[in-house]
Amino acid sequence: MAEQHTLEPDDHAPTTGWVGASVLRKEDARHLDGKGMFVADVIIPRTREIAFVRSNMAHATLIGVTKPEGHAHQVFTAADLGEIDHLTAGPEIAAFRNTVYPPLAEGRVRFAGQTVAMCVAGSRAEAEDLADQVGVDLDPLAVVIDAVDAMKPGAAKVYDSWQDGAFMTSAVKGGDVKAARGKAKFSVRRQFKMARQTCNSLEGRGVLAYYDRRLDELVVYMSTQGPHVMRMALAQCLKIPEHKLRVIAPDVGGGFGGKNRLTPEEIAVVALARQVDYPVRWIEDRREHILASAHAREHWYDITLHADAEGTFLGLEGEVYVDAGAYSLWPVGAFAEASMAARNLPGPYRIQDLEIRNFTVATNKAPLGPYRGVARPGACFVIERMVDELAHEMGIDPMDLRQRNIVTAAELPYTTVGEMVLDTGDYPASLRGAIELINSDAVRARQKQGEPDGRRIGLGFAFYTEQSGHGTAEWTRRKSRVVPGYESCVTRMMPDGTVLLLVGIQSHGQGMETTLAQIAAHELGLKPAQVQVRHGDTGISPFGFGTFASRSIVMAGGAVAKSSRQLADKLRAIGAKLLQCAPEDTTLADGQVMSGSGGVSFAEIGRAAHVRSELLPEDVDPVLEEFATYEPSVSGGAFSYATHAAVVAVDPDTGSVELLDYAVCEDCGTMINPLIVDGQVMGGVTQGIGTALFEEIPYDEQGQPLATTLAEYLLPCASELPRIRVKHLVTPSTFTEYGVKGVGEGGAIAPPGAIVNAISDAFKETGAFFNTTPCTPRRIVAALDAARDAHSSHEVGA
């Protein structure tokens, strides 16, 4: 990655405009001074603190709750919270088994950590004291902890009335996999597991709610990725008219998907705020986050890849199990997970014969939600591991096998068997780019030479595509309860010619206060410093869905461009009158409407539009404010893609892995701000490395989570990581504004595949099979031992 040429938001505009410039972020200054404003930083006088009482059993009948003597008025159970309409959450599919997830348990608890009661006191410590004294009478029930076992006949059930253990069973089918099987020379069958994780945004969840008498509205500060949709759901379940409910997402300390679901704690806190005359807040601590925030991943696969004698892929079949936990989180839980995994399993390869049965299974664990990459880290891990396994069986280089099967630039747009239309790019070029960037020849030479300390060097690759900016077509296909088909923007010019953007999107680290300002500045001939972005507050911005699914730069960027262009037209109309020329003869630059040698400043236009309407053209209304919604003309998604390359050194005695190098050759179309794109990619890669090597919430037989702190749930730090290197290819999308594609999730998708392929490569000749993330030292040693045992028993047998 070359040294970036950066610009400040108040620098002179580049000749090509602001789109494409590495503008340094406008949001940095407040955070660098420690003046960010996160939910826990919002001080409202008289606020009382909440601590939740949680189930310590994974599955039990809730017989009763005993409140500590003298403190009954500070303890609230489901019965004390007033009327709540339980939200229906999950896809709108007839076969989907809906469940009720009460904010505080009613009659049954279904995972260790489920909220049972809430305690209110002057400080969090006192609230926790109370929580310790609340008696929870539970009668244990049989526990379900394994999604595959849960589907076997006679297995214990999370829901008594269900015929089997699945929320949903379906299949993704295309072509004729039986025929493919018949033609195959090679049929490689493998099983894989990707562990349960949680997003671990550094700021956990948090809610502060109070009734504002002056405005006659309930104000909810909430650490969320989508305040507008959260308001909608809260209003619905708590029966508060939406115009009297205001949700504000102030600074949000990371989300990564987990904060894109409405969780019971949030509902309970707002429900309580309806009925008490003091502000209440709950700030999630890390233990609660790991225990009971939206969990993620936990997939199990049994997959067979069929190929002919030359290694041409013929078909893919098998099963996907998703361990969805006990409930469905509004709006759609984790119920796109299994079918998305199935649809993405063919990856970028020419595979038209597919049959994947998928099961989304209920277990006695915290409910699953989305996490950066949603389903695709699992799918990519499996297909990319399968490619390496097949290559190994055939005795050829996995990258040659990829080149043989990957869709070429000439074949794009390419409709996959999962009915996704891969739009633009050059996938083979990305494979080559990664080989070059990681310096494959040098790694191979080092590998051949051997390490003086006995460690083994491995090189691995993985390719993925990332559906981004998808709208109505894709979300209706998924039967989503909420169809995030657009984003919205008001571009408002003030009387002095400066600009406010009011957007429905929400930014929590993605730098949209900068990139959206860049887009408006680009369209209006301003500097980003002259554009302020307002987001995250239902009280001031138009409706929008928020940030998830790699959609923001496509959707919100498009909305900003569209509304800003509408404003530009109006500025030109007014400017033309003042300049006494035709609007067609004007341009916008340097904060002015220009025509020939003359120009009129936005401040003059702003003055005319706001306080001197006699100066306006007859057919132009006063005030400079334009609203637009935007959805790309193709709503199935624009596909970013990348090849990741990893180099590892593994100690064969202890299984310890050192990641020596990591490189990414990616293409997300036009980059509005390359600096920010790099940050998104590297941050995503680091989370993917966490998935690959470190992060896991295991459960014991009783359904107790074995990781509840960061001493057990390991997150990678700088000390565990190499310098991540990124190279960009740029193939603009043909149907989005500026040709952009989303890039938020991609980084997190490929690391499990690339890294475990690298570990596998390090031990290629042993026959060891690495099939589980995180690929821990213990698992590596176990795989090596298993291979050794298999080998020796084979020898004995022979």
């Binding site: 960010g36 997003c199 940050g679 590297m682 001493a711 990581l721």
Partner: protein, 183 residues
């Protein structure tokens, strides 16, 4: 009970209970919300402050135990030249996204720069152990620290004092390979 803290150069009186944690007192009683709580068990580094001139995790210190000891948070370092250089380089190197880990990162970065005359990438990465950033992938943070260190070294090329600590620490970085390999 009422205790006196020497907070960012000022004497501040606050009411505390024995069980109150310094991070909470700084945030709730003193309004210093630059002190962020990411884990409350010493693993994430977001609450890093300085006490007695040394960096510490304010989630693992009792407020009452800090009585009479100088405490400094990011808020109290606005005029500090090392901190100013760091803020500038964090901005230029895109070393922050959501901003939640940033105050802690800046505090540990300042400590690293002050304790090392020579600073290389391996030393910085090791020094960032136990500081979690979930957004950036750390590349910007590492670069920003090296960059600030270099700019300050240029500025103070003539006045390199007290470099013994730096040499020791640099030496240590070479020797840490066992744990690096432990991955």
């Amino acid at each position: 009970m009422r205790i006196q803290l020497e907070l960012n150069g000022d004497r501040t009186r606050v009411d505390v209970e024995p069980r109150d944690i310094l991070a909470d007192t700084l945030r709730e009683a003193c309004g210093l919300t630059s002190v962020h709580l990411g884990c409350e068990h010493g693993s994430c580094g977001a609450c890093t402050i300085e006490i007695d001139g040394q960096v510490a995790r304010s989630c693992l210190i009792l407020s009452i135990a800090a009585e009479g000891r100088p405490v400094r948070t990011l808020d109290g370092l606005a005029e500090d030249p090392v901190m100013q250089a760091l803020k500038q380089s964090f901005h230029r190197k895109h070393a922050l996204q959501c901003g939640f880990c940033t105050p802690g990162m800046l505090m540990i970065a300042r400590d690293m720069i002050r304790r090392h005359d020579r600073l290389d990438e391996a030393t910085v990465r090791e020094g960032l152990a136990g500081h979690i950033c979930r957004c950036t992938g750390y590349v910007g943070i590492v670069d920003a620290i090296l960059d600030a260190h270099a700019s300050l070294s240029d500025r103070h090329a003539d006045s390199q004092a007290d470099n013994q600590a730096g040499d020791r620490a640099g030496d240590r970085a070479d020797h840490h390979h066992e744990t690096r390999r432990a991955g």
